[in-house]
């Protein structure tokens, strides 16, 4: 009897020790370049830290993941017929949000894409801190949708091909776009919900461009190069805008030297609550 009780007690005492902790796994996927000239990339990353960089010319793409295996499963599927690859994480469901320490949020993704092929890039980010370097790639079109994230997108070097459109949709997010002039995009759309956005229009402008910016609540900081003619059509409500240095024509503002500038950027700016700040770049 005593032995039985002892065994039962031991069994029960051992139970708390079997409480499973969260488990992280590493996943790597890559594909060699075999003559492809175009790649459609869809990247879906729900939570964690994302780093995207140009890769080597030998590989079409490469992704390294450290992910929470209890909540997510890695996604890596290439369709040779359409030249489309899906990368990222898919929720496995059922586990819910279970964060008991900061380390549990430390999912990491590191993605590199080939600079040798034309890229159509579609990024969907959730609660993500993203550092995206697109300089040197050949982006033909770009779409970035971010939720509660902090995202930095940079074109440090000129885009390798002409880009039709770049669309950025940010929810409650902080978004920094640097070197938009290097993007070679003819049309850029930014829609921000709540948060802060920094749009840096520096870079080597090779074509005229049209920017449509909409910020609902928050701060929008524009960094504008002096050698590019800027025209802003403003629609604002309860939002401030520094008018010094601009020539006003109704709701349109022209930068000084707009007529003489070789390249022109037309900005359609809609903002509701908050403010727009302007910093002129040398």
């Amino acid at each position: 009897m005593g032995a039985r009780l002892g065994a039962t007690a031991l069994l029960l005492l051992g139970l708390p020790g079997t409480l499973a902790g969260q488990s992280m796994r590493d996943f790597t996927t890559a594909r060699q370049l075999h003559g492809e000239d175009r790649l459609v990339t869809r990247l879906d990353f729900a939570a964690g830290t994302l780093r995207l960089r140009p890769g080597t010319s030998r590989e079409l793409y490469r992704m390294r993941l450290a992910y929470d295996a209890a909540r997510y499963a890695p996604v890596s599927r290439f369709d040779a017929g359409t030249g489309e690859v899906r990368l990222g994480l898919a929720s496995v469901g059922g586990s819910g949000i279970r964060v008991s320490s900061r380390s549990h949020l430390e999912q990491r993704a590191s993605v590199s894409l080939s600079p040798a092929v034309a890229l159509s890039l579609d990024l969907t980010l959730g609660a993500v801190e993203a550092d995206i370097e697109l300089g040197g790639l050949r982006i033909t079109d770009l779409r970035l949708q971010s939720g509660a994230s902090r995202t930095a997108v940079a074109f440090s070097r000129p885009n390798g091909s002409r880009c039709g459109a770049a669309v950025f949709e940010a929810g409650a997010a902080e978004l920094t776009l640097t070197g938009i002039g290097n993007s070679r995009c003819e049309r850029i759309v930014f829609t921000g919900g709540v948060g802060k956005a920094v749009l840096d229009l520096s870079g080597a402008w090779t074509t005229d461009a049209e920017l449509r910016l909409k910020m609902t609540v928050g701060e929008l900081a524009l960094r504008l190069p002096r050698d590019v003619g800027i025209r802003i059509r403003m629609d604002r409500f309860l939002a401030s805008f520094p008018t010094e240095g601009w020539t006003r024509q109704g709701t349109t503002y022209l930068s000084s030297g707009y007529a003489r500038a070789r390249r022109h950027v037309d900005i359609e700016l809609t903002t509701t609550l908050g403010g727009v700040s302007v910093e002129w770049l040398p």
Binding site: L12, L13, G14, L15, P16, G17, T18, L19, G21, Q22, S23, M24, R25, D26, F27, T28, T29, A30, R31, Q32, H34, A69, A73, P74, V75, S76, R77, F78, S101, S103, H104, E106, L238, L273
Partner: protein, 448 residues
């Protein structure tokens, strides 16, 4: 050390297979392996292949020994290279035609890897499965998918199909060709210059996060929980003592409100919780409408949060006070001397009562099912009491308003017995029953 054992194993194999030794190390270059190996008897070719695998493995191990020392691959128990026989129609089968769900495949192979190698049977549709390291020689061309379990897959030649290694590495040497996907589960893929036309994937074993805390034993868990409950008790008692010392009147009014109008307090607390966020939103929107208001937003947020916390914690303490008071008075009425009744005593007794369920959870929380039930009950009761306390704090305006505290006695309650037993000083005669004009008045009895 491992290299030495591999040499010994190779020698043993060589000794046992002297009759077939003529095949020798030329086997990987033999032409006979252009199709999937399906023979069930030990032939000279398969023996030679095994020997060649061991030699390759020794080479791989020697290289790995010079590489980083902490690679998990090195800790794996090596097995004798052999083919895994196909299972029957009802036996286990692993489809390697789609490797995009690496985690699913890993789970399947993890369960199969626990089967003893002598009894392991596995079917790979359109391919074959191997146990232990396996080498495709430079002149070999293997058709179909290949699964290598608990060993490395070394490719010098050509594989026309998908390649999966479980608990092993995949090494693709220069000149090698894999016309399919490559997946290393709990291992690595080392592309040393070969051609892989498909996708290359690796999936590591499950690893605990670096900062993960080791599971506690039941004793340690219980001790930690008991300490936590005691800590909360002491913290609340200290807060209650401060409240009793500096805001006793307010505490008593909220406490009396709970005692006399528990249901009303609870409903008010419930509605208050529901309205917390909308009220906060309205406050923010109202402040956003003016520049001065926008500047005040940070302060308003802090003040609002503080008020809510004070309301909930203060209300909870008032409930504890009310419970302690009820208990003390009942004991005194029974003639049991408990010392001088005071708010401090009420709070200690009340907090002890409210924390009783949490104490039970701290001690028995590790018991399956019962622990969960106790914790659920503790959460429910705590929420109930906190809601009632919060509602009482709202009703009494943090103890300023006495309307619901039972301290104002309606005229109809002023019976002869009450008046006989109650000192009459301070009670205005005009408010006594039957004096005409007192019908609408409620008699303040505070301080009687």
């Amino acid at each position: 050390m491992r290299t030495r054992s591999a040499v010994l194993a190779a020698l043993l194999l060589l000794t046992s297979g002297t009759a077939h030794a003529l095949a020798g190390p030329e086997a990987p270059r033999a032409e006979s392996t252009t199709t999937a190996a399906t023979t069930t008897t030990v032939s000279a070719t398969s023996l030679a292949r095994d020997i060649w695998s061991l030699i390759q493995q020794m080479a791989v191990d020697a290289r790995a020994d010079q590489a980083e020392p902490a690679r998990p691959t090195q800790n794996r128990a090596r097995v004798r290279p052999q083919q895994i026989q196909a299972a029957g129609p009802a036996g286990p089968s692993v489809d390697l035609s789609d490797l995009s769900h690496a985690n699913v495949l890993d789970a399947t192979l993890a369960s199969l890897s626990r089967v003893p190698e002598a009894t392991l049977r596995l079917t790979v549709p359109g391919g074959q499965a191997r146990l232990g390291s396996f080498v495709i020689g430079s002149q070999e061309s293997l058709q179909g998918h290949l699964l290598v379990m608990r060993g490395d897959a070394v490719v010098y030649g050509k594989l026309q199909g998908n390649l999966v290694a479980y608990e092993g590495d995949i090494i693709v040497h220069p000149g090698a060709v894999v016309t399919g996907d490559v997946l290393a589960l709990r291992g690595a893929v080392r592309d040393e210059g070969g051609e892989i036309t498909g996708e290359t994937r690796t999936l590591s074993a499950t690893t605990a996060p670096v900062s993960a805390v080791a599971p506690l034993s039941a004793w340690a868990l219980t001790f930690r929980r008991v300490a936590g409950v005691l800590g909360v008790f002491v913290a609340l008692a200290a807060l209650g003592a401060g409240l009793a010392a500096f805001g006793r009147h307010n505490l008593q009014v909220v406490s009396d409100t709970v005692s006399h109008n528990f249901g009303r307090s609870f409903v008010t607390g419930l509605i208050g919780q529901i309205l917390l966020l909308p009220t906060f939103g309205m406050l923010l929107v109202g402040l956003l409408l003016s520049v001065a208001g926008i500047l005040l937003i940070p302060f308003a947020v802090v003040v609002y949060v503080l008020l809510v916390v004070v309301g909930i914690v203060g209300g909870y303490l008032a409930v504890a006070h009310a419970m302690g008071e009820a208990y003390t008075r009942r004991r005194l009425a029974q003639g049991i001397l408990l010392g001088t009744p005071s708010s401090y005593r009420f709070l200690v007794f009340g907090l002890a009562a409210t924390m009783a369920l949490w104490a039970a959870w701290a001690v028995f929380g590790w018991v399956p099912v019962a622990g969960t039930l106790i914790r659920g009950a503790a959460v429910l009761v705590t929420w109930l009491l906190a809601s009632a306390g919060f509602g009482a704090a709202l009703l009494s305006r943090a103890g300023i308003r006495e309307n619901f505290a039972g301290r104002i006695i309606p005229p109809e309650a002023l019976t002869d017995e009450y008046l006989w037993a109650t000192p009459q000083f301070g009670v205005p005669a005009v408010r006594r029953p039957g004096t005409g004009s007192s019908t609408s008045a409620r008699t303040p009895t505070s301080g009687l």
